[in-house]
Symmetry: C2
Subunit: 223 residues, 2 copies
């Protein structure tokens, strides 16, 4: 079974690596990190480089796709973009089409979420609605063969759910959860829009806005 994770400059590392570290432990799964052009892709901050080993064009019939998000999605939200074309092309043949964070914007741009309930990073719900999806405030949303996850860290929860669907049983998901010792103890209870006080939401919104502006600037420099 082939599981393809497309990456691009400006992706959020944990969006991709959370699911990667769960799914690469699934016996029989071949995880492929791919990109429009193979080679090194840098995360949104530019601080981390991850290798895309294969071209999208070489990954023609993946069984599962996991599309990460990040400010870099802004560079791909248009018809004709190679990532959007690839998602639209491979989706009919997948067993599962999934996304983490603003990766759902790319699924929406590819026409997969028209009128479909889906989730994304809490700060991007409006953007998701503008692309035709029906955003709902849940961490993992499964509709037919499409599973979308909320912001960044939620990809771990989504991938464990996916393992359960792929194997048709709880055992392997439980084993992988134990393998990655996923017994989270977040130091605070401020991890979602619904739980965080308004002033904290404001603070994070302005940081995200600044990051997005910086990304736009980097894009204009053709990073």
């Amino acid at each position: 079974m082939q599981i393809a994770i497309p990456i691009f400059n400006g992706f959020t590392a944990l969006d991709a690596i959370g699911p990667y570290d769960v799914l690469s432990r699934l016996p029989g799964a071949e995880v492929v990190i791919c990109a429009a052009e193979p080679g090194e892709k840098r995360t949104e901050s530019g601080v981390l480089g991850v290798m895309a080993d294969r071209a999208l064009a070489e990954v023609e019939r993946p069984d599962v796709i996991v599309v990460p998000g990040g400010v870099g999605t802004r560079n791909h939200l248009e018809q004709g973009d190679p990532y959007i074309r690839w998602i639209a092309d491979v989706h009919p043949g997948t067993q599962w089409t999934t996304s983490v964070c603003t990766g759902s914007l790319m699924l929406a741009e590819a026409g997969i979420l028209d009128g479909v309930e889906a989730t994304t990073h809490w700060a991007a719900r409006e953007a998701l609605a503008e692309l035709g999806a029906v955003p709902i405030a849940k961490r993992v949303v499964e509709r037919g063969k499409v599973i979308t996850a909320a912001g960044v860290s939620s990809g771990i929860d989504m991938a464990l759910t996916l393992v359960e669907r792929l194997t048709g049983a709880e055992l392997m998901a439980q084993a992988i959860q134990l393998g990655i010792e996923y017994d989270p103890e977040p130091p605070h209870d401020t991890g979602s829009l619904e739980k965080a006080p308004p002033e904290l939401v404001e603070l994070v919104m302005s940081a995200l806005k600044a990051e997005d502006e910086k990304a736009a600037e980097l894009h204009s420099l053709s990073l």
Copy 2:
């Protein structure tokens, strides 16, 4: 403030990327991914390549180090190994010396955990004790300026704690937690040795053993 994350072939991606994605959001933090020899390092499965941008020798006075684990640690647990030497050399000058998963074995080999309470992946507690530390069954253990975290996913919890120590307040840790939407909903409650049924522990132990044997084989082929 410089935060160094050393990586090596056979590291576990999430051990490094969980903390990276938290710490790279801290204003004023410069996160540096480094290795004995700069360049691409592959994870334990060989499936994912991450770039080390700087040589350890160029990172002489990091304020914080975060040492990930993975089966690849087995190739570095000896005096004279460049990673062990670097950890021992920079530790006296750090504000915080931290590890995730079996990264604590490397701290121990570097002489930092002699008689000190620390944690590691649940399956490596005995190995940690053999290196002179005092393993305890906690997800994040803080002793003086040394913070060790349990298996793989625990690095996210550790890094949020670290942000709180670095900033001296809760606000930034809470904001980053909201930024990465860290409001975990693990599908099962089997994520720790203490919570998992014995047959699940057996299953995971044999998978880890197989992985370790495969890593030993790859090492003998000089991956």
